[in-house]
């Protein structure tokens, strides 16, 4: 019985990693850049929801929508000001370092506005917890909601990329920016759209992260952000279903490591598994191994 409950715990934790990883992988897949500030956009999204509910008295659904809009604007602004001017920089390092800078900037701005004190986040998930096996197992409403949201987002993104013109443009940009531009695709607009979608997803992820683990500080986003990045690499960065599988597997491995091996070694176990997987499959579980022609 405890095995099943650990499995449920693992899926709960993993679903949170998965939903963050979706945003990471989306931006990487199209714009080919690691947006290290993604975790911090999540944190900002959570603060917006908290403020909208507690100060403006908005209903939870409206607050989530407000946060998604706010984060979309924030994401596009960050892309426009900090990333776009560096897109053709000589070194791909420049934009990566800028992303780290943006991450610190967001943390410190949040620190300035909201203060360092831990705020407790009231869950906005309306679904009640489900108890199974006569009350011995509990699946929280947050977990059900997060997994549901992951699946919807995963399917939605896949359809969007495959079936719409904007999605096709994204694919083209991800394969070859120069050629896409020659074909008449607005590269800047397409990448801005990618950031807009990625940031709106971050807002949703922020709400679900803070509903599942209800404390909020300006540093809330950074560690889950890094774990989700690992999940995205694990599943094959750039692959949307890969992000979901990677996230959930990462959560399950972490929880099983804690439960059956050692709670002190949990992170060491997670990263050892990652190393082994990457040695065997360098592109991740679902990643495509594209040979670069020289």
């Amino acid at each position: 019985m405890s095995f099943v409950s650990y499995l449920i715990n693992g899926v709960s934790l993993g679903s949170v990693y998965a939903i963050i990883a979706l945003g990471y992988t989306m931006v990487y897949g199209i714009a080919k850049m690691l947006n290290f500030a993604h975790g911090d956009v999540i944190m900002i999204g959570a603060y917006v929801v908290l403020t909208a509910i507690t100060s403006a008295g908005m209903p939870p659904a409206a607050a989530v929508l407000a946060a998604a809009v706010f984060c979309t604007v924030l994401g596009v602004t960050i892309e426009r000001i900090a990333y776009r001017p560096l897109r053709n920089a000589a070194s791909p390092l420049a934009v990566l370092i800028t992303a780290i800078g943006v991450s610190y900037l967001l943390q410190n701005v949040a620190l300035l506005i909201f203060g360092a004190n831990t705020k407790s986040f009231t869950s906005v998930v309306p679904i009640p917890a489900v108890t199974l096996a006569g009350g011995q197992l509990t699946v929280s409403g947050e977990t059900i909601m997060t997994i549901g949201a992951c699946i919807v987002i995963m399917i939605g993104l896949t359809l969007f990329i495959k079936k719409t013109k904007a999605g096709q443009a994204m694919l083209a940009v991800s394969e070859d920016k120069g050629a896409a531009q020659l074909m008449g695709i607005n590269v800047n607009g397409t990448i801005a759209l990618t950031f807009a979608i990625g940031s709106a997803l971050a807002a949703v992820a922020g709400v679900l992260l803070c509903s599942a683990y209800p404390t909020l500080t300006p540093y809330t986003g950074s560690m889950p952000g890094i774990k989700a990045f690992v999940a995205a690499v694990f599943g094959g960065i750039g692959s949307i279903p890969g992000a979901m599988i990677g996230g959930i597997l990462l959560g399950i491995i972490e929880v099983f490591g804690k439960a059956y091996i050692s709670s002190q070694m949990a992170d060491a176990i997670v990263f050892s598994v990652l190393i082994v997987v990457l040695i065997v499959r360098p592109a991740g579980i679902l990643g495509k191994n594209i040979q670069e022609k020289v």
Partner: protein, 387 residues
């Protein structure tokens, strides 16, 4: 080719991240040379900000009172508090800033890790150091360092004794932060003392600073082992998550914490009902009828608009202890750092103060205070002392 590039990127990122933590160009104030200068260091931002804020407020209140009453040895006191975000490296930078400012004695640092780091430097400078709340053993390892609070082992031992002597439980689980010197220090002493007590430890589970949001596994293990009491020797912000997640799996043992649990009721938006029947060791209780405590609480509330916690109380006592010792050692504004340190070292063991954290508070030459611990229990959203 691609791999190499990614590796280079990652290495560069790591370098930037570590370098980013280095520089700390805080404003440099020049001190008044005709005043006694006491410096203080603690986190006023970051995860432990509530402690730094409390220490800052408690100390400033005491300094204000002392200055209004004529200062120390007839000399006014200037106080300078620097933020370290609870980070050792930043604490050492803050220490250097204060030294440039002309600090004669240090109240701090507030948290254990930075205190050990600053302690090493202060020992080299022969700077007198009194930490209000640094609980790690190593905080006072040198003879220039003293503390107001209990040490980690003391807290672990006293907690185990309290649980055993009052028969709170026969099966006890411990969840602790293995990446934190405070938490693991208490844990080790607790386990050792538990052998002499009438309870057994059925589960000892760790977490680290990198994974301190999900406690489901640790709680599940404690529940499966049938623990009637869970000992939580870590800070309130993680503890608020533990309490919430325990309620989520319908697990309601007695929760028992140490001084880091103080402040849990101040977490914004936290459902205080979850903390009912939570107990923790604390040297200070704001609801006491004692005259000195009552005056301190009233003045503090008038000044800052909220009730002081034990960190504010420790800092308040710390400043008064410094005053008492400085008077005994005849410290003036122009006394050199080394002379202050030598004078205070011997004066500290001679003084006895009636403070807000203890009556007749005295110090041993090893830097440890001698006072009796108290247990506080939360009932109906309020702190209450357990008799």
């Amino acid at each position: 080719m691609k791999m190499k590039k990614v590796l280079a990127v990652a290495l560069a990122a790591a370098m930037v991240m570590t370098a980013g933590c280095g520089g700390n160009g805080k404003e440099e104030k020049k001190a008044d040379s005709d005043k006694i200068r006491i410096g203080a260091i603690g986190p006023t931002t970051g995860g432990a900000a509530i402690y730094g804020e409390a220490v800052k407020n408690g100390a400033e209140l005491a300094i204000k009172e002392i200055n209004e009453a004529g200062g120390i040895n007839g000399v006014q006191v200037e106080f300078n508090f620097q933020d370290d975000e609870g980070d050792s490296e930043k604490a050492v930078n803050a220490y250097n800033t204060l030294k440039d400012w002309g600090m004669q004695a240090l109240l701090g640092t507030v948290t254990s890790g930075p205190c050990v780091a600053v302690g090493e430097v202060a020992q080299g400078d022969n700077m007198f150091l009194l930490t209000p709340s640094g609980t790690a053993v190593e905080c006072v390892q040198y003879d220039n360092a003293f503390r107001v609070c209990f040490s980690d082992p003391m807290q672990g031992i006293e907690s185990a004794k309290y649980i055993g002597e009052n028969g709170l439980a026969t099966k006890v689980a411990v969840i602790y932060d293995s990446s934190d010197v405070y938490s693991s220090g208490i844990y080790e002493a607790f386990v050792k003392e538990a052998e002499n007590q009438g309870f057994s430890i059925v589960a000892a589970e760790a977490f680290t600073a990198e994974s301190k949001t999900d406690f489901s596994v640790q709680l599940q293990k404690a529940k499966d082992a049938g623990a009637e009491l869970v000992f939580l020797p870590f800070y309130y912000s993680e503890a608020s998550l533990v309490l919430r997640q325990a309620a989520g799996i319908n697990y309601s043992p007695i929760f028992f914490g140490c001084d880091g649990m103080d402040g849990i009721l101040a977490v914004e938006g936290f459902d205080v009902n979850l903390a009912n029947n939570l107990m923790f060791l604390s040297p200070f209780t704001p609801t006491s009828e004692d005259e000195i405590i009552k005056k301190f609480v009233t003045d503090f509330e008038a000044e800052y608009g909220h009730t002081p916690n034990q960190f504010a109380a420790d800092a308040y006592d710390g400043i008064y202890a410094l005053k008492e010792a400085m008077e005994k050692a005849d410290v003036k504004a122009d006394t050199s750092v080394t002379d202050v340190c030598e004078g205070l070292k011997s004066a500290m063991t001679d003084i006895s103060i009636d403070g807000v954290t203890a009556k007749a508070l005295t110090w041993e030459a090893n830097g440890e205070p001698s006072k009796a611990p108290m247990v506080v229990k939360i009932a109906d959203g309020n702190y209450a002392v357990v008799e």
